[in-house]
Amino acid sequence: MSESSVVAIVDDDAAVRRALGLLVESIGVVTRGYSSGTEFLEQWDSTTPACVLLDIRMPDISGLDVQDRLLEEHPDLPIIFLTSHGDVQVAVQALKKGAFDFFEKPGFNREALLACIQRALRLHGERTRRRAHRDEIGARLERLSKREREVMEGVIAGYSNKRIANDLGISERTVEVHRSHVMDKLEVHSVVELVRLYQETDSGNH
C-alpha cells in the first residue's frame, strides 16, 4: 500500500482510537484520530487515498449524521462503520446509504478488518484517479466553443462532414476547420480516441 494512504479513526474514546491506530498502522498506513464527528468534518482535508473508521454511537453527532455530511462534502471517501451489538439495525441503514462495510465492536476479526481497510483505500484511490481524469477531460471540453461542440457531437454520432454542415447550416469547409480545432483542444488524434474520451466524461456515460 502506498505510503501516503491515510485512515481516519473517529471515536469518542481515546483508548479505542489509540488501539485501533496501532492495529491499522501494522499494515503500514498512517492514521489520524478524531474524538468527534464535528472535529473530523472540520479538519478533514486529505487528498491522498483514505478511508474512515467511524463509530456509530457518539455523544456529539452520531455516525449516521457524519455519513450524511460526508456524502455532500467528500462523496468518494469510503466509510467503515464500527457498531455495538445493539446497533445492527442502524448499520443496515448505513449500508443502504452507501457505507463501505461495518464491523461489530469489540470482537471484530483482525484480518477481515484490515483487508477491508485495504480494499477501501484502493477504491478511494481509484475513485480519486477517475475523478481527476474526468475533471481533466471536463476541463478540455470546457475549452471548446459552442460551434466546435456542435460539430464534435455530429462527429461522435458518426455523421459525415457534409451532413453536419447541412444540419448546422454552414459550409463543409468550416466544419473541417472546427473539427481540427476539436482534435487539437481535446488532444486526440483520431475519431476513435475522441469517442472513447467522450465516453469517459459524465455527459458520455448515459
Binding site: D13, A15, A19, E25, S26, H85, G107
Partner: protein, 535 residues
C-alpha cells in the same frame, strides 16, 4: 244494632258495602216506645246533634223529619221542613240522581249511594248515603230513612293520596337503583323491578324471605350483626352512608353493589329501605384500568432497566474494544517479526478471546433486560391508540370535569410500534394534562389530535394539548430530565421514559407552551412505509 226514629221504632236493614241488603233484623222494640218518652226525646236530640244528614220521607217523598244537620245543610228553618217534598229540599237535580235509591228503599230494599250529587247551594258534593225502608207496625213499607254523609273533603284527600301513591309507585317501578324494604327482623317486604333485575329474583319469590338471600354468606352474617347492633344500641353504621359491598345473584354469581339505607317507622315497627346500585361494570372497568396501569408501570420499569443495560454494555464495550484492538495489533507485530515467540502469541490470543468472552457476558445481560427489540412490534392506527387511552382514563377525565376535544385525521398513516409502549407515552401525556387541568378554574379542555406531516420523514403526529397553566422557561428546559417533576407526588420519570420510548421508535417527543396558554406535547413517529420495507 238498634235505632229509633222520632215517631216510631225502625229497624234499619243491614247492608253490605255494595248496597245489597244482607239481613233484615226483626224488630225487638216495644211499640209503646213510639210515644214521646223522655228516652225518645233524648234520641231526637241525639239525632239532631249528629253531623250526618238524617231524614225520614213518606211514600210520596214528603218530608216527615229532617235533623238539624240536614236543615242547616239546606238552609231551612225548623218549621219549614214538614209537608215539603224532598225534591224541594234538595233540588230537582239532586232528586233526579237519588230517586232510584229512594224508590228502591220504598220497594223494601235497603240501598247505598256513593258519588257526586248536585248541591242546591253550591258545587256538587261527594256524598255517601244510606237509604232504608221504614215500616209500620204491620211491617209494611210506609216511607224511607235517608242517612247521608258529605265526604267531599275526605274525597279530595283520598284522591290526593291516590295520586301520591301512584307517583311513589311509578318512581319505585322505574328507579334505576334497586329499592328493597325490609322489616326489623330482616324480612324482605318489597323489592322494585330494578332490584329484581339486579338480583334475579321476582318480588313474589323474594318477599317474606330473609334479606341474606341477596348477600354472600359472609356479608349476610355481617348484615344480621349490623341490624342487631343498630336495634340494640341505636348506633348507626349504615344508615345514611354509602357503602360498597358484594351481593349475590340468584345464579350464584357475585355482584358489586353500592348501598345506602334509610329508616322509617310504621305502626310502631322499624323498617329499612335499601337503595342499591349495581356497580359491577364500573368495578370491572376500574379493575381493567388498574391492570393496564400495572402493565404500563411494568413496561416503564423494564424500559429503564433496558436503557441501563444498553448504556452499561456500551460503556464496557469501549475498553474491551481497546483491549481487543491492542492485542490484535501486538499479534500483528509479532507475526511481522517472523516465527518464534509462541508463548507471547498464545498470551495475546488469550487476551483476544477473554475480551470477547467479557463482551458476550455484557451483551447477554443487555439482551435479557431489553424489551426494545422490535420483533413484537405491530402495525397500529394512531387514532385507535389515542382513543383507547382516552377510554382508559375516561373516569379521571370525567371526575376532573375535563372536556375532551378529539380531532383525529382519517388519513393519518399507520405506525410500526410496540403498542404497549406507545400507549404508555400517550397515557402519560393525557394523565399529565388532566392533572395540570385539575387545579384550573373555568373551562378545562384537553385537545387530542392526530395529523399527517407529509413534509417530514416523521409523517405521523399525535398531539395532546391542555388549557392548564403551562410551564415556565426553566421548567421547560428541565422537562425531560430524570427526577424532574412539578407534581407533589410525581417521580419525574414519566416524560423522560416517554421521550426515550419515542426515540427508540425513531421518533421525537416535543413539548411547547401554547400561545393560548397550556402545554402541547407532540409525538412524531415515522410512518410505516419504510419501517415495513426495511424487513
Amino acid at each position: 244494632m238498634e235505632f229509633k226514629g222520632y215517631t216510631r221504632t225502625v229497624v234499619p236493614q243491614q247492608v253490605d258495602c255494595k248496597g245489597a241488603p244482607v239481613a233484615i233484623a226483626p224488630g225487638n222494640s216495644d211499640p209503646s216506645d213510639h210515644l214521646r218518652s223522655p228516652r225518645e226525646t233524648s234520641l231526637g236530640t241525639l239525632i239532631d246533634s249528629l253531623q250526618e244528614l238524617v231524614a225520614h220521607l213518606d211514600h210520596f217523598y214528603q218530608v216527615r223529619f229532617l235533623n238539624r244537620a240536614c236543615r242547616d245543610w239546606f238552609g231551612l228553618e225548623p218549621e219549614a221542613q214538614v209537608g215539603r217534598t224532598i225534591a224541594e229540599v234538595i233540588g230537582d237535580e239532586a232528586f233526579a240522581v237519588l230517586k232510584p235509591c229512594f224508590d228502591q228503599a220504598l220497594a223494601g230494599e235497603a240501598t247505598r249511594f256513593c258519588g257526586d250529587v248536585p248541591y242546591r247551594l253550591g258545587r256538587p258534593r261527594f256524598i255517601h248515603g244510606t237509604y232504608l225502608p221504614s215500616r209500620d207496625q204491620n211491617g209494611e213499607v210506609d216511607g224511607l230513612y235517608l242517612l247521608s254523609v258529605d265526604l267531599t273533603d275526605h274525597n279530595v284527600l283520598r284522591r290526593r293520596l291516590a295520586t301520591e301513591t301512584t307517583r311513589a309507585r311509578t318512581v319505585l317501578r322505574n328507579a334505576i337503583d334497586g329499592i328493597i324494604t325490609i322489616d326489623d327482623s330482616g324480612r324482605i317486604q318489597s323489592l322494585n323491578p330494578a332490584a329484581e333485575r339486579i338480583f334475579g329474583y321476582s318480588a313474589a319469590e323474594a318477599v317474606g324471605r330473609d334479606v341474606s338471600l341477596l348477600m354472600t354468606a359472609y356479608q349476610g352474617a355481617d348484615h344480621k350483626e349490623y341490624v342487631r347492633r343498630y336495634l340494640d344500641t341505636g348506633e348507626a353504621r349504615i344508615i345514611g352512608m354509602r357503602r360498597e359491598l358484594v351481593g349475590q345473584h340468584r345464579d350464584g354469581s357475585t355482584i358489586d353493589i353500592e348501598l345506602a339505607v334509610a329508616e322509617f317507622l310504621d305502626g310502631g315497627r322499624r323498617y329499612f329501605t335499601g337503595f342499591i346500585r349495581d356497580v359491577t361494570d364500573r368495578k370491572r372497568a376500574e379493575a381493567l384500568a388498574r391492570e393496564r396501569l400495572d402493565e404500563l408501570a411494568h413496561v416503564a420499569r423494564q424500559h429503564s432497566m433496558g436503557e441501563l443495560a444498553t448504556g452499561l454494555a456500551h460503556e464496557v464495550n469501549q475498553p474491551l474494544t481497546a483491549i481487543h484492538a491492542n492485542a490484535e495489533a501486538c499479534l500483528a507485530m509479532v507475526d511481522a517479526a517472523g516465527t518464534g515467540q509462541e508463548p507471547l502469541r498464545g498470551a495475546l490470543r488469550e487476551i483476544v478471546q477473554q475480551s470477547g468472552r467479557a463482551s458476550r457476558i455484557v451483551d447477554g445481560l443487555r439482551h435479557f433486560l431489553q424489551v426494545g427489540s422490535n420483533e413484537s412490534w405491530t402495525l397500529e392506527n394512531p387514532n385507535e391508540l389515542v382513543e383507547e387511552m382516552l377510554d382508559l382514563l375516561a373516569h379521571e377525565i370525567h371526575r376532573s370535569r375535563v372536556r375532551v376535544e378529539l380531532d383525529l385525521a382519517a388519513d393519518v398513516p399507520m405506525v410500526h410500534v410496540d403498542r404497549t409502549q406507545i400507549e404508555q407515552v400517550i397515557f402519560n401525556l393525557v394523565k399529565n394534562a388532566v392533572d395540570a387541568l385539575a387545579a384550573m378554574p373555568g373551562e378545562r379542555v384537553l385537545a387530542a389530535c392526530t395529523r399527517v406531516a407529509s413534509a417530514s420523514a416523521l409523517a405521523c403526529r399525535i398531539e395532546i394539548a391542555d388549557t392548564g397553566p403551562g410551564v415556565g422557561a426553566e421548567q421547560m428546559r428541565r422537562l425531560f430530565e430524570p427526577f424532574f417533576t412539578t407534581k407533589i407526588d410525581g417521580l419525574g420519570q414519566g416524560l423522560r421514559i416517554a421521550r426515550s420510548i419515542v426515540e427508540d421508535h425513531g421518533g421525537e417527543l416535543l413539548a411547547e407552551n401554547r400561545d393560548t396558554g397550556g402545554m402541547r406535547f407532540s409525538i412524531l413517529l415515522p410512518a410505516t412505509t419504510d419501517a415495513t420495507t426495511d424487513e
